[in-house]
C-alpha cells in the first residue's frame, strides 16, 4: 500500500490501475484476435495469447483489446493472429509462436510496421 501524499501520487496509482480496467472502455483502438478453436489451441495458440497479453502489459500499451476467435478454416496455418487497425486492412499472421507474437506486438502494434514475412499473403497457399 502506498499512502497518497500528493496529487502526483494519486496520478501514478490512477495510471497503473487504469490499465487494469481499460478493457472495459476501449473498443476503438487496435484489436488483436487469436484463433482459439480446437485447431488453434492444439497448435499452441494459448501460449501465443499469453505472450501477447504479457508483452502489452510489460510495455504499458493502452487501447488494445485482445480477443479470441473461432476457426477461420486455415487450420494448417494455426496459430493465427490477426491485427485490426481502425480504417486499415487487417493483417493476418500465421504459424505464430510466443516469440514471434511478442515481436508482432512490438513491431506492428507499437511501432506500426507489420512484419510482412509472417503474414498469410507471403505464404504460398496455392
Amino acid at each position: 500500500m502506498r499512502p497518497v501524499k500528493t496529487l502526483e501520487d494519486l496520478q501514478k496509482i490512477r495510471e497503473e490501475a487504469s490499465r487494469k480496467v481499460n478493457v472495459r472502455s476501449d473498443r476503438t483502438g487496435i484489436r488483436i484476435t487469436v484463433g482459439m478453436a480446437t485447431c488453434g489451441i492444439a497448435a499452441g495458440a494459448r501460449p501465443v495469447m499469453m505472450a501477447i497479453l504479457d508483452e502489452l502489459e510489460k510495455r504499458n500499451v493502452k487501447g488494445v483489446t485482445v480477443v479470441e476467435t473461432g476457426c477461420i478454416g486455415l487450420c494448417k496455418y494455426e496459430p493465427i493472429v490477426e491485427v485490426y487497425e481502425p480504417d486499415q486492412d487487417k493483417v493476418t499472421y500465421i504459424k505464430m509462436d510466443p516469440e514471434k507474437a511478442r515481436q508482432v506486438v512490438v513491431e506492428h502494434v507499437i511501432n506500426g510496421h507489420p512484419i510482412k514475412e509472417w503474414t498469410l499473403e507471403s505464404a504460398d497457399i496455392q
Binding site: R2, P3, V4, L7, L10, S18, V23, R24, T65
Partner: protein, 596 residues
C-alpha cells in the same frame, strides 16, 4: 496482471437476491477448470440498472450483455464465449442481438437516453477495490480542491453549478454549504443522509453499493468547504450490502491516506463514521435524523434554528443526500459550467430514478433534468407489460403525487413537478396501469404515513389517521358525498400546520389523486363501484351460465358456502352470503366467474 477479458457480474442488491453470487462463483470455478483464470477476471460490480433482467453479466472487451443468468448456463458461456470467442446468443439480452451483430449494452434504448453522472461507475468498477475507483478518477477532485482552491472558491463553484438537494426538497446545495461555512462555532459536521425510506426507491442504496468512494469524496470536499473534520453517514441497517461496501471503502481510503489526517499533505483532516438507522421513515427528515444520530428519539424539531447553525451536538452541520454528494466530485472535475449546461433552467444536472411497478424494465436509471415522463416510462422503461393501458405514475414517494397520462410530456424538474401536485422526492417512480384503483393507491400511501408518523404533532398524528378512516370508508362502499370535502379540509389543515416535511406532505397522495382521478372517488361514493375492480367490498362476482361447465370447483373452494348448484349444471352465487374474497374467480378453469 493484465486480463484479456473481464466478466462483470452485478453485485447490487437486486441481482444478489436473484442469485448473482452463485453465478459469479460458477464463473470462477468454470474458468479455473478451463485454465482461463489467468486470462479472464471475474469482477462483482454495483447495480447496472436493469434489475428486471437480473442476474446480469457483462463481458468485456465486447461489452455484451447476458441477462437472467443461471449457474447452469455458465459452462457453455465459458466454453463457447470465453474459450472460443463466440458469445452465446440465446442467453444474451434479446434487444442486443440483431441479424448482423451483437450490440453492446450502451447501445440499447435503455441506456441510450440516459446520462450517467452519479451512476458513472455503477456496473463499471469493482466497488470493493479502491484502485478501480481511482482508475476512474476518484479523489482527483478532492486533491484539486485541497491543493488549488479555497473553501470560498469551492462553495462558489457548487453555487454556480446550480446543484440542488437530491433528497427531495431541492434546496440549493451551495447555499446550504455557505450557511455552515459562515458559522464561527466549531467543530462542524458533514452528515450524509442515506436514510432512503420511500417504498420502491433504491437510488441511494445503489450508489453506495456501486460507487461508495464518490460519496466519501463528496463528503470530504464538503468538509473542506465548510471547515469540518468529521463526517457521519446515516444509513439504514436494512442496507447490509451498502454498509459493507461503505465500510470497506472507508478502510481502504484511510489506508491510502485519502481520508484521515493530513490528506494530500495539506494539513486537512477528515474522518467518516457510519451510524445505523433502524428504518423509521421520519428519520429521513433532517432534524429527526440528527436526533437519531445522537442516540435520541427520532423526532423532528421546529426549524429555525436550522442544522447549518445548530445541528449535530448543537454545532453547525450540513446534511446532504447520497446522490447530492456523489455529484460533487464530477462538478469539481468538469467545472460548474459543464454541470449547469445539463438540465433545465432551474434544475441542473441529472436525476437518478428507481423505476418500478407496471413497467417492462424495472430498474435504476439516470436522466438529464427535463426529460419527460413519457421518455422514461415508454422509451427507457419499455412501456407497460401485457398490453395494458397506462394510468398514472407515482413520483416522489409517499410525499409525492400521482401524475396522469395528460401530463406525461411535462419536462420533469423540481418546479414542474410541484406545479403538477407532486414532487421530485428522492426519485422513486411507480408506474400504474389500468388495473390500479387510485383511491386504493392513496389509501396505501396514507397507511404507510400513518404507520410512520412519529406522533409528536397533532395534525400529523391525528389528522392523517382521520383521513385514512375516511378512505377506508370510501373503499368499503360506505362513502358519502361530503367525505370528499372532509378529506380536502383535513388535507389543507395538515399541510399548513404539521411540524415537519413528513406531515406537511402526507396529504399529497390524496390531493393529487383527487385532482386527477376525481371520477374514481365519485364512482366509489355514488355508484358504490370500483372502476378498476380492486376494492373487494365494491365488487360483485357472478357466474356466466353459458360458460359454466358445472365442475363444482368454485363451490368446493368457497370459504362461506355461498355457491350452490348441481354437477354439470351452471352454478350460482348467493350475493347475500358472498364475502367477495375472489377465490371462485381465481379457481374457475373456464373463466365463467366475472367480477364487476
Amino acid at each position: 496482471m493484465l486480463y484479456r477479458s473481464h466478466v462483470m457480474v452485478c453485485g447490487g442488491t437486486g441481482c444478489t437476491s436473484s442469485g448473482s453470487d452463485s453465478v459469479a462463483d460458477a464463473f470462477v470455478n468454470e474458468l479455473k477448470k478451463n485454465g482461463l483464470d489467468q486470462e479472464v477476471a471475474v469482477i462483482r460490480t454495483g447495480c447496472f440498472g436493469l434489475c428486471e433482467l437480473g442476474p446480469v453479466v457483462v463481458v468485456y472487451p465486447e461489452g455484451v450483455f447476458y441477462s437472467k443468468m443461471k449457474p447452469e448456463y455458465v459452462p457453455e458461456i465459458v466454453e463457447e464465449h470465453l474459450l472460443k470467442g463466440r458469445p452465446v446468443k440465446k442467453y444474451l439480452f434479446g434487444e442486443t442481438v440483431t441479424e448482423e451483430k451483437i450490440k453492446p449494452l450502451e447501445e440499447t434504448t435503455f441506456y441510450r437516453k440516459q446520462e450517467r453522472i452519479v451512476l458513472r461507475n455503477c456496473g463499471i468498477i469493482d466497488p470493493e477495490d479502491i484502485e478501480e475507483a481511482i482508475a476512474m478518477g476518484a479523489y482527483e477532485a478532492l486533491g484539486k480542491v485541497l491543493t488549488t482552491m479555497t473553501p470560498e472558491q469551492v462553495i462558489h463553484e457548487i453555487k454556480k453549478s446550480g446543484l440542488r438537494g437530491r433528497g427531495g426538497g431541492g434546496f440549493p446545495t451551495g447555499q446550504k454549504w455557505d450557511f455552515a461555512y459562515r458559522q464561527k462555532e466549531t467543530p462542524k459536521y458533514v452528515v450524509c443522509n442515506a436514510d432512503e425510506g420511500d417504498p420502491g426507491a433504491f437510488m441511494d442504496r445503489s450508489v453506495m453499493e456501486g460507487d461508495p468512494h464518490a460519496v466519501l469524496e463528496g463528503m470530504a470536499i464538503a468538509g473542506y468547504a465548510i471547515g469540518a473534520e468529521h463526517g457521519v453517514i446515516y444509513v439504514r441497517a436494512e442496507y447490509p450490502l451498502a454498509v459493507k461496501r461503505l465500510q470497506i471503502a472507508i478502510k481502504q481510503a484511510k489506508e491510502y491516506g485519502l481520508l484521515g489526517e493530513n490528506i494530500f499533505g495539506t494539513g486537512f483532516n477528515f474522518d467518516v463514521e457510519i451510524r445505523f438507522g433502524a428504518g423509521a421513515f421520519v428519520c429521513g427528515e433532517e432534524t429527526a435524523l440528527l436526533n437519531s444520530v445522537m442516540g435520541r428519539r427520532g423526532e423532528p424539531r421546529p426549524r429555525p434554528p436550522y442544522p447549518a447553525v445548530k445541528g449535530l451536538w448543537e454545532k453547525p452541520t450540513i446534511i446532504n443526500n447520497v446522490e447530492t454528494l456523489a455529484n460533487v466530485p464530477a462538478i469539481i472535475n468538469n467545472g460548474s459550467e459543464w454541470f449547469a449546461n445539463i438540465g433545465t433552467e432551474k434544475s441542473k444536472g441529472t436525476k437518478v430514478f428507481a423505476l418500478t411497478g407496471k413497467v417492462n424494465r424495472t430498474g435504476l436509471i439516470e436522466v438529464p433534468m427535463g426529460t419527460t415522463l413519457r421518455e422514461i416510462i415508454f422509451d427507457i422503461g419499455g412501456g407497460i407489460p401485457d398490453g395494458k393501458k397506462f394510468k398514472a405514475v407515482q413520483i416522489g414517494g409517499p410525499s409525492g403525487g400521482c401524475i396522469p397520462e395528460q401530463h406525461l410530456d411535462t419536462k420533469i424538474d423540481y418546479d414542474s413537478l410541484i406545479s403538477l401536485g407532486a414532487m421530485m422526492g428522492s426519485g422513486g417512480l411507480v408506474v400504474m396501469d389500468e388495473d390500479t384503483c387510485m383511491v386504493n393507491v392513496a389509501k396505501f400511501f396514507l397507511e404507510f404515513l400513518v404507520d410512520e408518523s412519529c406522533g409528536k404533532c397533532a395534525p400529523c398524528r391525528i389528522g392523517t389517521k382521520r383521513m385514512l378512516e375516511i378512505l377506508d370508508k370510501i373503499t368499503s362502499g360506505k362513502g358519502e358525498p361530503e367525505d370528499i370535502d372532509r378529506l380536502e379540509e383535513l388535507a389543507t389543515t395538515i399541510k399548513d400546520t404539521a411540524l415537519c416535511g413528513l406531515g406537511q406532505t402526507a396529504p399529497n397522495a390524496v390531493l393529487s389523486t383527487l385532482r386527477y382521478f376525481r371520477d374514481e372517488y365519485d364512482a366509489h361514493i355514488n355508484q358504490k363501484k370500483c372502476p378498476a375492480g380492486v376494492c373487494q367490498a365494491l365488487l360483485s362476482y357472478t357466474i356466466v351460465a353459458d360458460k359454466c361447465r358445472g365442475c363444482g370447483l368454485c363451490a368446493r373452494n368457497c370459504p362461506v358456502n355461498a355457491i350452490s348448484g348441481q354437477l354439470k349444471q351452471p352454478y350460482t352465487i348467493d350475493q347475500e352470503a358472498c364475502i367477495k374474497c375472489g377465490t371462485c374467480f381465481e379457481k374457475c378453469p373456464f373463466d365463467a366467474v366475472v367480477k364487476a
